[in-house]
Symmetry: C2
Subunit: 151 residues, 2 copies
Amino acid sequence: MSQPVAGPVHLADPASGCPINLIAELLGDRWSFVVLRDLMFTARSGFRELLAGCDERIASNVLASRLTKLVDAGLLTRRDDPGHRQKVHYRLTEPAIQLVPVLAAMGLWAANWLPADPQLSAPARHLAEGGPEAMNAFMDELRLAHLGLMG
Amino acid sequence: MSQPVAGPVHLADPASGCPINLIAELLGDRWSFVVLRDLMFTARSGFRELLAGCDERIASNVLASRLTKLVDAGLLTRRDDPGHRQKVHYRLTEPAIQLVPVLAAMGLWAANWLPADPQLSAPARHLAEGGPEAMNAFMDELRLAHLGLMG
């Protein structure tokens, strides 16, 4: 994994300095992972696309609150669409892109132990079983798409 | 990682078969990760030990509810202490032991991006940077201590 190159992630008043506690305080709710998953593994980036495309039918107010939380934490950026005055795009930041190994490990475990759909489990299996090379290749794809390196 | 050898984990009525959604539905709350962390990385196994030892000062009713949830899910077993009639011990099951790579990836990310204590981050760094060998060695230690292979 490459070393951090962006600013730290923001978390107010943590109850301890244990890293498991810190990430659990930041992301330990069901919908934060679902929102990060959709930004990481699909091309959706607008609010309406994220709302309509979510297989778990996230509620509009929950999606809005999680997007705001993730932007405030430094895990997402929010940008206006120059072609549509009322449309915004959400993009992953470098720290969020570096969550790929976390989501891959979570997905592999769930594919092994929970009633996961084999087709929906393929990306996590590919990443987890492909090791650092597969992780780095995918993170580089995300950097191209989300950090503006294509534009 | 060794293949699953225990029964599946129980999760009622998931909203989708996506593995990230499934694990987020099961464990996506702050305290589940904290409780699993303490059972995984400390020798504490009794309710009072877990309550008193938790650096984040988990509330008694929250600890009780998370232990019950994790037992019902098949991630923990609950056994009476033969020497103390009122004491019970909680132990990790095989699926919970296989969460080691998930907690290691979470801990490494938090050590890099959040204000984590370096000393508290050492176990996650050791596991994440030691690769499959370090993960397997630690999971084998947990199997000895939690699955009754020592007794």
